[in-house]
Symmetry: C2
Subunit: 267 residues, 2 copies
């Protein structure tokens, strides 16, 4: 491990969020920190990138003087109009001029990104973009989206996980999706490596009328999990464990290739 690693921090809740402040606080204890984060909330942005409009990026002093700097580590921060995935591209190719950071971390997201939510998650898209660029990359989420969410019980775990990733690296072609249980009266039980639970959102569209009588809809839904496997992220969180799902960005359903080759008559 590099003695003084360079750590890129991004998120999807925007640079002013409490979650990213927590992540920057922990990371500046480990190494030099570069923050490139959206200038506004981008939840649900999935792996969107900005190709039809230009991007803005500005230096930010939002973290200045916030943390006790014991180790003489630097924190340099930028806010951007881009998506989380844009921010990682901007960090590597624009701010760092092609030099990869030693670690990419994203979050801490205000709310769960377990199971199928990983696909909609801007937090995880920043991590996955990091992994595509060949860097060890981790997305962190706290399963509490309340405005009073408490991040204090997860700081030591974030540090352990980041140090382990810097030490051991990550399996090639993967990023980690880390979810923390919300603060409870008892301590977190430990960390489990999990698979993504087979669950999904059952949607409801809440129909309303604007002051001019024109109809609009709010996407809203409930999470449905019929997968009670004890090796799933959902099980881990429900039982007060930290879940870590290693994730691919090669979406090939390798097992399905031979099925299609066998069954499809048009080939």
């Amino acid at each position: 491990m590099n003695k003084k690693p360079l750590i890129l921090v991004s998120n999807d809740d925007g640079i002013t969020a409490k979650g990213i402040r927590t992540l920057v606080e922990v990371m500046q204890e480990i190494g030099d920190v570069l923050v490139v984060a959206p200038n506004s909330p981008q939840s649900g942005m999935g792996h969107a990138i900005t190709i039809h409009s230009p991007l803005k990026i500005h230096k930010s002093d939002i973290f200045e003087g916030l943390f006790e700097n014991k180790n003489n580590h630097t924190v340099e921060a930028y806010e951007s109009s881009g998506t989380p995935a844009d921010c990682v591209k901007l960090a590597k190719y624009y701010v760092l001029k092609g030099v990869p950071p030693d670690l990419v971390v994203s979050g801490v997201n205000h709310g769960s990104n377990t199971s199928i939510s990983i696909l909609y998650s801007g937090t995880m898209s920043a991590a996955i973009e990091g992994a595509i660029e060949g860097m060890p990359a981790i997305g962190f989420s706290l399963c509490d989206f309340g405005s009073g969410a408490d991040f204090s019980h997860i700081k030591s775990y974030i540090k352990k996980i980041a140090l382990q990733a810097l030490e051991t690296g990550l399996p090639k072609g993967t990023a980690l999706n880390v979810n923390f249980p919300a603060k409870q009266s008892e301590d977190i039980k430990g960390i489990k490596i999990c698979r993504q639970a087979k669950a999904k959102w059952q949607e409801v569209f809440d129909e309303r009328a604007d002051p001019y009588g024109r109809k609009y809809l709010w996407l809203s839904g409930s999470f449905v999990n019929h997968d009670h496997g004890e090796d799933t992220d959902e099980w881990a969180i429900a039982n007060n464990y930290i879940s870590i799902v290693p994730c691919v960005f090669d979406l090939t359903a390798h097992h399905a290739i031979s099925i299609l080759n066998d069954e499809w008559e048009i080939l």
Copy 2:
């Protein structure tokens, strides 16, 4: 196979694009068609969904009288302010009140969605959203983003692929990413079931100044493919084959679970 299937059509280039017109034309030869598509271009939207603002959806007559209706099949169309993934949710949960269509098709995208581009693709996010909902789902892309792109050589193949998917179904938990080579002087050579090539975008940020002297950037890049496997989608397209990559939405890197359990000391 249902005698008269109901086919949901969406895309990411917006309801006015030539590509979706091509797809609707072919699908209404097979069954009744429901179109729910964005009212503006949404390329690069990835799997974004709209959770911070409300959605609009309106009936559209854009396809009326366009096709010779030999089979008495209906075409009902809606345009929405939502993303491609929103459109599939709107179709199933709002327009169809929970009844799943027999097939979801998305596209035909103006431009390639091979290799890593699947992650950024709005076209594929509509297909993957369909697969999450348990429906056979296919994203179609033509490797030509020129304004004069010719879709005529792919219509018979789109029909064959859609009929095959309706007939055989798709392997559970997968969606298909279909890419067509641009029109060439010789005919397409055939269809290949492929894996996603290990390639990525090398980004460049084109820095400019607005009329007030303020800096802005355009994301721009070149595609870098070091994976020359003859089982990849890139190889198929380069050799004038149609590539079909079956894709997962369970992102778990299953092989990495045991690696992490073995190597990580903090567990």
